[in-house]
Amino acid sequence: MNNSLFKENRLLQVINLKKYFGGVKAVDGVSFHIDKGEKVAIIGPNGAGKSTLINLISGYLLPTDGKIIYQGKSLEKTSMIKRVQMGIVRSWQIPQLFESLTVKEALITSILSRNKKIYNMWKDVNKYMQKQIIQEVTELCLSFNLRETKPVKELSEGERKLLDVALSFSLQPELLLLDEPTSGVSSYEKFNIIDMILRVALEKKTTVIVVEHDIEVVQKYFPRIIFMNEGKILYDGSFDTLMGEESLKYLLGG
């Protein structure tokens, strides 16, 4: 593929990105690019640097070296919050949720943040509850099988994962980075969760990068796979050709 031909479709370009923690080369010279609307899975063994890569793109960590170009703009010193406003939204490997709120309240908090109304302290939240926001919350809950009135602290492990994703979608991201949205749930639920995520992403035309451990899930849902090990990308392409790579077989664990 001739890369320069598709430039206007280019969403993210990562160039020779590095993140060292003392002697640990967590991300060590990674380059790739993502086009609008792509669905990409990042796989690799524990400690491969997957989360660190997500942390760099989302701005939680600043790189030791290298470039991140998003929609043609270089992100080096852009803060995490600024990146969220630019459309780069992430979830965390271990979901951290708002335990004192209900599902609906959490989603509304997120939507108010998106609409830049979150710092208003004189107006009742109900004053912002226009039809379209209520409908948005209802739709998100429907898409991710959540009950609006349920307190967050009563959610099951699977529901927590789903709320985490729903919160990310409520920001209407351009680029969504999900760090292991299916970890810690049953294998059956895994398929379900990814299914819901990709369905909403397709509908909203969101570009998605998912870190995923389950090889069957990856095979079923993701047309493009980035395989990482020891901070480097060893493979970037479709699942079928990945299985043909003799040199990677031992890392994939059969």
Partner: protein, 322 residues
């Protein structure tokens, strides 16, 4: 919203009615309780919703009070309303500036910054005695509100004192405003930041900005209370800036159940009446009794007064059903 307005009106009516029948001494105690409630309501927002424990509210209370005292003494402002507005403005501005610094810290570091701040204010008030009157404090003459109503006296209907009337009126207004703040987007942001700061950031919410606003609002409330305290008490001294006063505010907030503004309203009344009468009857033991109450509270009712009331209420409901 209408419900909130009714709730506040009912409270106001009760307080007014009480003013007609209560003795002047009780009115004074109740007025002081309401001032303590105002400070504690600020702490409900800061501790209960935001998870930050401030031991510096006494300093803001003192700044409000001393703004009035010093403006009166050196600039000769005679209008209570101007003194009130300036006192609150000064306190709010200072709490915003301290907030800029404190909002970057959490937990123990935050508590220490606020303690340090109150120690600084206390020391300034004591050491610059040629300006502040030192430990002797300042006398506050009974200036007039809107040129007609002296801030202290008995110019109103029956036994109601002017200071009581002024304080319950302002208290009710603040209660109404705070109900809005508690249901505002910022309040949700505060809870979000308290529960999961990093998640809040990944939703585009700036914890620093959220905490600065909450801290400033708590300072604003302490400022109002302090300003009114100067009018009520006729005399102010640096002890109100000492960290023990801040400790009392924190205690009342915990006693009330940290997330309930009505809980701390009751807790302030309970605390000040207990303290006043315990000092009379058991001169040296009241602190022991207060300590004992804290212990009982932590062991038996970690959610404070509002928790107890809630339990009794729910308990009765369940009981009736069966």
């Amino acid at each position: 919203m209408v419900k909130t307005a009714y709730k506040c009106l009912i409270i106001y009516a009760c307080l007014l009615l009480f003013g007609f029948i209560a003795t002047r001494h009780i009115q004074h105690l109740l007025s002081l309780s309401l001032l303590y409630s105002l400070v504690a309501i600020g702490l409900v927002i800061l501790i209960g919703y935001g998870g930050l424990v401030s031991f510096g509210q006494g300093a803001f209370y003192a700044i409000g009070a001393y703004s009035v005292g010093l403006l009166l003494k050196y600039y000769g402002f005679q209008n209570a309303e101007i003194l009130l507005v300036l006192g609150v403005l000064i306190t709010t501005l200072i709490s915003f500036l301290i907030g800029l610094l404190a909002a970057r810290t959490r937990k123990l570091a935050f508590a220490m910054i606020t303690v340090a701040f109150s120690m600084i204010i206390y020391t300034l008030l004591v050491k610059f005695y040629h300006i502040t009157g030192g430990t002797d404090g300042l006398r506050i003459p009974a200036v007039k509100l809107f040129g007609i109503l002296p801030v202290r006296g008995r110019d109103l209907f029956m036994s109601m004192s002017n200071e009581y009337f002024i304080i319950i009126t302002i208290f009710t207004i603040i209660l109404y405003i705070t109900e809005h703040v508690i249901n505002s987007p910022l309040s949700y942001a505060l809870r979000a930041v308290k529960d999961a700061e990093l998640k809040a950031v990944s939703l585009g919410i700036s914890p620093t900005r959220v905490y600065i606003l909450a801290f400033t609002y708590a300072g604003f409330l302490a400022g109002i209370a302090g300003t009114l305290y100067a009018f009520l008490n006729a005399h102010i001294d640096p002890l109100i800036a000492f960290w023990t006063t801040s400790g009392e505010f924190v205690f009342i907030t915990i006693l009330g159940g940290i997330t309930s503004i009505y809980g701390v309203f009751l807790a302030s009344i309970l605390y000040l009446f207990l303290k006043t009468y315990l000092i009379v009857y058991t001169a040296y033991y009241w602190q022991f009794v207060i300590g004992f109450v804290i212990l009982l509270l932590i062991l038996l009712a970690p959610k404070g007064l509002s928790g107890i009331i809630f339990k009794v209420y729910i308990g009765r409901k369940v009981f009736r059903k069966s």
